[in-house]
Structures are given as C-alpha cells and as structure tokens.
C-alpha cells in the first residue's frame, strides 16, 4: 500500500520513496495541519472569544484569555506532541519494535515516581512535580544506559525499561496507600496527563529543548534506517552502532523527560502517530521523524481542543490522554485493516 503513495513525479527510482520533493510535500501538508490545529485551538473554547476584540483591545478579558490561556496551551500541546511523536518514531526504529512508545524505556516510571514523591511530600504544585518528574526521567535513562553498556542487543535496554516501569508502578501504589486519600486525587490527575497554562519563559525553554532533541533525532534518522537491518549489517555499512544507540537513547530520553515534566503522562501520541504515519508514508525514518513530530503536534493540539469542547458534557476537562486514546485507537485499527486488505 505504501509504495502506491509515491507519486510518480517524485520518485527518484522505482521503489524509492524518499526524495526531496516527496519529503517536502508530505512535511508541508503535515505542517499545515499543525498550523490549522493551532489556530483552531486558539480560537475555540469554553470562553466565547470575540476575535475583533482580541486584536483591537489588547487589555480586554478576551485578549487576555487569548494570549495568556489559549496560545500558551496550544503551543505547549504542539511542543509536547512533537516531542512524543518524534521520540516514538525514533524508538520504534531503534528497538525494531512497532509497539514501542516513548515511555517504554522507563522514562514514564521515573517521571511518575518523581512527581508522586513531590506531591506526596506536599511540595508546592508549581515547580515541584515537574522538577522531580524531570529528574526521575533522567535517572531512569541513566539506569537503562548503564545496563545497556555491557550488552550489545537493544533488548537489554527494553527489558531494563520495562522492569523499571514495573518497579516504579509498585512504588507509586505503595506511596498512594501511605499518604492521605485527598492527596491521591492530585497524583491521579497528574498521572493522567493534561495541558496547563505555562509561562512564556517555560514554553521558550521547552521549545528550545525539543527543537534540539528532535533535530538530533532527525540527523540520526539515516543511521536509524540502517540499524533496522540489524546491528552487524549496519556496522558493515559504516554505522557506529553503539555510539548511535547511545545518542538516540539520550536524545529521546531528554525529549520525553522534558515533555512529561510539563504535561504528565500523555499516552498514545508517541505510539499511534508514528505507526499511523508509517502505514501512510513508509518506514524511512528520515521522513518519519519530522513527520511524526508535526503529526504528533497536530494530534495532541486537536485532542486538547476536544477536551475543552467536551467540557459542557462532562463538566470537566477530561485528561487529554483519554481523548488521544479514544481518538487514536479506532482510527489506527481502521487504517491497519485497510493496509492489510490491500496487501
């Protein structure tokens, strides 16, 4: 199915799906989707915005809602979505596992444990959980890298991550039973993943971090393609396998840690978006990494918009992770079925 999507005029040669022209076309389309999602998210919501008032009266409540609530939240959604999408794609390629998601290497366990500890101790809700979550993620990454040093196969990293997640999950359950029940609600809310209103400084820092990490991942994407052939094959084609593995692991861990620190654990974006895009544009990571970044951004921003539009129904903004699952799951199954049917 995917070969059929190589328009003839862009094909470099029969069977080759990566070319400058095709990449530009696909990334442009996805970029437009992201921009459209951002615009929709800024314009729609529970508060009835008057666009004229936003533009003409900079001191009105409308303008404040737009610039201090809508725009920061949309930008945060784009940054987190891009991070999760790109990292998910890179990890699926590195681990040669289409079911890998950005949290699989223990990053989610580390972040959740960090945030839970912060909330249990009662650290101020502003920076405490985020900081602890970030530190927790990096600790998990360090553990995975340390264990992976002595082994060459990617399965060591995978297993370490899975085991660490299980350990963190048990530790969190333990903490939840020890602390008073009213605190448990906060922890559950953080773990479910949601987008809040961050300051411009935080957003700028997050954006810079993610641009750097996604940039590194994009640059390694050619080597990721070769790694998918197998360690020895890749090595025989000139890829420094161990070094590439470490670089990709560090970049994805930093990226995911930075995202989770701000948004909690938003699931499915890093799993579904790269997988979906692979069905549509092929397995070439040089295209998949940036496409997943743009697609992830658009998907998360739209999911967040949906949580806000559904507010009158539930009298609550659902955690955005719920919406990504409900949206992404069936869509993915449908596309998978179509792909199977064609081949």
């Amino acid at each position: 199915m995917s070969v059929a999507l190589a328009p003839r005029r862009f094909a470099v040669a029969p069977g080759v799906r990566f070319s400058g022209g095709r990449a530009l076309a696909i990334l442009s389309v996805l970029g437009l989707c992201m921009v459209a999602a951002l615009l929709a998210s800024a314009v729609l919501g529970e508060y009835p915005l008057g666009l004229r008032r936003v533009l003409l009266e900079p001191l009105s409540v409308d303008a404040t809602v737009f610039w201090r609530l809508r725009v920061p939240r949309a930008v945060l959604g784009a940054v987190v979505g891009a991070a999760l999408g790109a990292s998910g794609s890179a990890l699926q390629g590195l681990l040669k596992n289409p079911l890998a998601d950005p949290f699989i290497l223990g990053v989610s366990g580390g972040a959740a444990l960090g945030a839970t500890l912060a909330l249990a101790v009662g650290l101020t809700a502003f920076a405490g959980p985020s900081l602890f979550a970030f530190v927790g993620s990096l600790a998990a990454m360090g553990l995975v890298l340390a264990v992976g040093r002595t082994r060459r196969s990617p399965y060591a990293a995978l297993l370490t991550g899975v085991i660490f997640n299980a350990f963190a999950s048990a530790a969190i359950t333990g903490i939840k039973t020890l602390i008073s029940p009213d605190r448990v609600g906060e922890i559950l809310y953080w773990l479910a993943g949601s987008l809040g209103y961050e300051s411009p400084r935080t957003l700028a820092g997050a954006a810079i971090l993610q641009v750097a990490c996604v940039g590194v991942l994009w640059r390694q994407s050619g080597r990721l393609n070769l790694l998918s052939l197998g360690d020895e094959d890749a090595s025989s084609l000139g890829v420094p396998v161990d070094r590439t593995r470490v670089v990709v692991l560090v970049a994805t861990s930093l990226s995911v840690a930075g995202a989770v620190a701000l948004s909690g654990l938003v699931g499915f974006v890093g799993l579904i978006v790269p997988h979906l895009l692979r069905l549509l544009v092929g397995p070439d990571q040089r295209l998949l990494v940036p496409a997943s970044a743009l697609g992830g951004a658009a998907f998360l921003v739209l999911s967040d918009l949906l949580t806000r539009l559904l507010f009158p129904v539930f009298h609550a903004e659902l955690p955005v992770g719920v919406v990504t699952a409900v949206l992404g799951g069936p869509l993915f199954l449908y596309l998978l079925q179509r792909a199977e049917a064609r081949t």
């Binding site: 009835p48 609600g185 507010f311 009298h315």
Partner: protein
C-alpha cells in the same frame, strides 16, 4: 531510617510547608457591589445560600447537588476547575477552598483580573472566619455575623452539655474498604472533641489515616460513627470481636463532611450519636 519509615515521614510532611492563611484575597479587589459569584466547592455554595445571597450565584462546581443551584452551569471540580469556564461567566467574585491541587488554575484566574476570595476551612474557627469574610464581600455583613455567632453559641452549648456526660471513645469512619478514619487535624476530629468524644485515632500520623482492621480492633472504641453514605464493607467489620460490642451509628446527614454553615446541625447530630437520649443500662 528504613524506607517504610522514610515514606511515612514524607506522609507526615504532607501537612505541607507554608499553610495558607484562613482567609486570602487574590487578584484585583472585588467591586463594591458584587452581582455575579462563582463557587468552586459545595461548602462555599452552602455559605452563600445560608447568607440568603443565592441569587448572586452564576456558577458552581460539578460536585454541587443542592437543589437551589441545579440549573446553574458547572465549572469543574476541586483539582481541575476550568479557567475558561469560570472566565466565561464573567464573575465579580470567585470563592475557592485553596488546596495544592488547584493553585495553578486559581492563579491563572487571578492573572485574568478576576477577584478571588480563598478560604482555608480546615477548622471551626476557619469556618466562622470564612463566613464573616464572605458576608463582608457580598454585602451581608450583619447576616454573616449573626450566623457566625449562632454557630459559636451552638458550639458552646454542645460543649457545655457534653461536659455533663462521661467521655465516649469513638471511631469516625469515612470508608471501610480501605478503612479510612478521621485522625488528628481533621474536621471531624475537632467536632468529635466538642461533642464530648475521645477520638481513638487521635494519635494517628495524619488527618485521614488508613487503618488496618487489626488496629481498629485494638482501639476498642465504644462507638463507631459511620459516615460512609452506605458504601459497602461495613458488615464484615461489624462481626469482628472488639467492634461487635461497640455501638454502631450511621450518620444521616452529610453536613459533617462539609466544613460549612450547617456544622451546627452537624454538631448536634454528633452529640446525639455519642450520647443517645435513652440511656442504656450499664453504660
């Protein structure tokens, strides 16, 4: 320090550094004449209704079940009030019970230029202070003062009556599975002491400790106060020795769970539960 002890210590610290003041204002000053009020917790709605200012309410939390506010729009929950939904109602004043979970949305509201009155409501004194503050803000100062005074008098009366009875060892239960009881620093603990009871959980390490069944057996309370609203698990405990001999009382009204203007009623209910009108032989 063993890991378990360390974690428990963390739980103790859950009281948190820097407790907020009993009454706080955030954001700009409220207008002299407040016309539109949003409340973010049922206790606060109760306070406004008790002051006779129910017509000022334009939005409530999704946990509010009072018939008077049934048609009002909901703006979210305790940990997740929706900033935009509140702002869309264009309130003159927002009443909130501050907790670590909602600090960020509340700060966002204040930054939008919405006046906020934040109440702690952790003790009876907090409730009295809170009532007075709400009264001042809504222009019902006299009514609030009267209400607060009546509450204080009820409390004093109950305390006086309780003085004439022997103290009763009581266990106040919020839930059976797991067994969550009222510990020191909780609202129910304070009311219990006022009504002449001894909280068997007063040496617990937090305000809402989770107890093991054996711990409850060892405590041997005279009275078990069931505030669970019929959620299951009671039968299993009631059969056990140590608890079978106790008098089990189901508290009918939720007033005791909300630190609001109805606590006078709550106190009297509690008093009746601890010291029943018909004295039983041998007690």
């Amino acid at each position: 320090m063993s890991p378990a002890a360390a974690l428990l210590a963390l739980g103790v610290l859950a009281a948190g550094p820097g407790e907020p003041a009993a009454v706080q204002t955030l954001g700009p000053r409220a207008p002299g004449r407040v016309r539109r009020v949003v409340t973010l917790a049922p206790s606060l709605t109760d306070a406004v209704l008790a002051l006779g200012a129910g017509d000022l309410l334009v939005g409530v939390s999704r946990f509010d079940e009072q018939p008077e506010v049934r048609t009002l729009p909901r703006v979210g929950g305790f940990v997740d009030p929706s900033v935009e939904a509140v702002a869309a109602l264009k309130p003159d004043l927002v009443l909130v019970q501050l907790g670590p979970g909602n600090q960020r949305p509340v700060a966002a509201l204040a930054a939008l230029g919405i006046p906020i009155l934040a109440l702690r409501l952790a003790s009876i004194d907090d409730v009295l202070a809170g009532l007075r503050a709400v009264g001042v803000a809504l222009g019902h100062t006299d009514k609030a003062e009267a209400l607060a005074r009546a509450l204080a008098e009820t409390r004093a009366a109950v305390r006086a009556r309780a003085g004439g009875f022997p103290s009763v060892r009581a266990l106040f239960v919020y839930g059976f599975e797991p067994l969550v009881v009222a510990g020191p620093g909780s609202f129910a603990d304070e009311l219990l002491r006022d009504a002449g009871g001894i909280n068997v959980a007063q040496d617990a390490r937090s305000a809402y400790p989770v107890w093991s069944v054996e711990h409850a057996l060892a405590a041997k309370p005279d009275v078990v106060l069931d505030a669970t609203h019929g959620v299951g698990g009671r039968e299993a405990l009631q059969e056990l020795p140590g608890l079978r001999q106790a008098r089990w009382v189901t508290l009918p009204s939720p007033a005791l769970l909300h630190p609001g203007p109805a606590l006078g009623q709550g106190l009297e209910e509690l008093f009746r539960a601890l010291h029943p009108v018909v004295p039983e032989a041998g007690r």
